[in-house]
């Protein structure tokens, strides 16, 4: 009895609060209040609007910026994951803790703090002023948004790579060295290929929140940097055009699920359970 029914409350819950809301968003993306009769009618206007160059550009910009952030996180994060994985075991635990600790400070607040570092009268520009260099325009542009993304999502890249690296059997590396591989070849032919599952989950864990964020651009981009997430937020909360807002959400959802699907193909270590997405 326990086996049979203990899953039922959640099946009901997930139908009402996960499946149905998504169906509702798809529904809203396809209907519109008719201006003549005041009733709901079928319309793909939301998707049509999205295809306008203005909005397509926002979408492409979001994807490119998220890709840039993901690449930067990988390039910056891989070495640090490697360094931590080669430390003494007690130190490893402590360093992993240090990586997670910042997440316990409110994420909006940490992002906001960058304004007082990068801003016009911020710490960097004051320092530049002291040593007699001209001030830089670091704040409220795409660069600031990029820094904010890398800052916020770097731990998501480092942690999975570190986990995989720390589990690599040291004797595999020794075997490669005994067989005459120098350190560069060991890195390229042994360590990196073995860490691919970590890299894959790192990439998905950074790219996904980066492409859909609206907080980072609205705090650090200062209105000059509108991304796809801002567009959704505006349509739902400011403009009130649910048809268009839902259409963007649906496109965003399909895009993410598809890119996850593609990423999964490169993941050599499949778990036993299959997934529909």
């Amino acid at each position: 009895m326990l086996k049979k029914y203990s899953g039922h409350p959640y099946i009901l819950w997930s139908m009402i609060f996960i499946v149905f809301p998504l169906i509702l968003v798809i529904y809203y993306s396809l209907v519109k209040v008719s201006s003549e009769t005041g009733r709901l009618m079928f319309s793909i206007e939301g998707y049509k609007t999205f295809m306008q160059p203005l909005y397509l550009k926002v979408f492409i910009k979001s994807v490119l910026l998220a890709l840039e952030a993901t690449a930067l996180c990988l390039v910056i994060g891989y070495p640090i994951a490697y360094i931590i994985a080669n430390m003494k075991p007690e130190l490893q635990k402590f360093m992993a803790l240090l990586l997670i600790l910042p997440m316990w400070m409110n994420f909006l607040l940490r992002t906001y703090a960058w304004i007082s570092i990068l801003g016009k009268n911020g710490i960097i520009n004051r320092f530049l002023g002291v040593i007699g260099l001209p001030a830089l325009d670091l704040m409220f542009n795409d660069k600031a948004v990029l820094i904010g993304m890398v800052y916020n999502f770097l731990p998501f890249m480092v942690l999975p790579i570190y986990t995989v690296l720390s589990k690599i059997d040291k004797s595999v590396i020794e075997a490669a060295q005994d067989l005459g591989a120098n350190s560069r070849i060991v890195m390229r032919k042994v360590v990196v290929p073995l860490s691919i599952p970590g890299i894959i989950s790192g990439i998905t864990m950074v790219f996904m929140p980066a492409v859909s964020t609206f907080v980072i651009p609205s705090l650090l981009g200062g209105g000059r940097s509108v991304l796809i997430g801002n567009l959704v937020e505006q349509q739902f909360l400011v403009v009130g055009n649910w048809n268009f807002g839902s259409a963007i959400s649906v496109v965003l959802m399909i895009f993410i699920l598809m890119s996850m699907r593609i990423m999964k193909r490169y993941d050599v270590e499949e778990e036993g359970e299959m997934n529909l997405w």
Binding site: P9, F17, N106, S249, L252
Partner: protein
Amino acid sequence: MVTSVQSSLWKFLQRFYTVLIFFFLYAPIIVLIVYSFNDSRLSVGWSGFTLDWYVKLFEDRQIIRSFYYTISIAVLSSTIATIIGTFAAIGIHHMKSFRKQLILSINNLPLLNPDIVTGVSLMALFVFFKAELGFITMLIAHITFNIPYVILSVLPKLRQMPKDMLEAAMDLGATPWYALRKVIIPEISPGIITGALIAFTMSIDDFVISFFTTGNGVSNLSITIYSMARRGINPKINALSTILFVSVLSLMLIINKRQSKESKKSI
């Protein structure tokens, strides 16, 4: 000789890089903490040491209320999600392959979907049913995105459990409830605790989903900070975050010390 110089240079580079990265990660936090002691409303420049913000913090009703909402939503949602999620995991564990795949895929949706899509879809649901946005809707939203974390932390523990343990207990005369309490729960409790902790953390730090599913003046700390950001963040918020950060830090250090002491004892 050359190799030893090279390896020590290599070591130095590694240390330098580590320090640099952690400086990058901690710089904003240091800035926040420093400004919580700054005798000026604006977060530019240093105008002297003060503890004023820590005193004024407790007089600010808006901040105290949003702190209260954050904590109560986190406690309630992680508790309810842990209960529903643990039962769900037991049920899913015993399902046949197709149903299992289907429900696990649905379970993964809130994890894979961007937060903003989850937030918007829940808001659409609440508006569709004409539910008044506020504490309850935000709580439901938090439970919904927390359950998947609980399920995903409990399932591996169930898989590690010997297959026929439940049957064995029941053959020996245990009622299903008794078997659950005395056999299954103790066996999977590490997974339950991990799941509950992840759920609690996710709930405390959530902004996007709460932002779309709340209303009626009910706002958690993140929402309060977001609405303050346009006018400039009040140092009182810095003070509150410093208190929270230091308490979590000391809690973690205590747990860490205890664990290392225990592991030394066992050696």
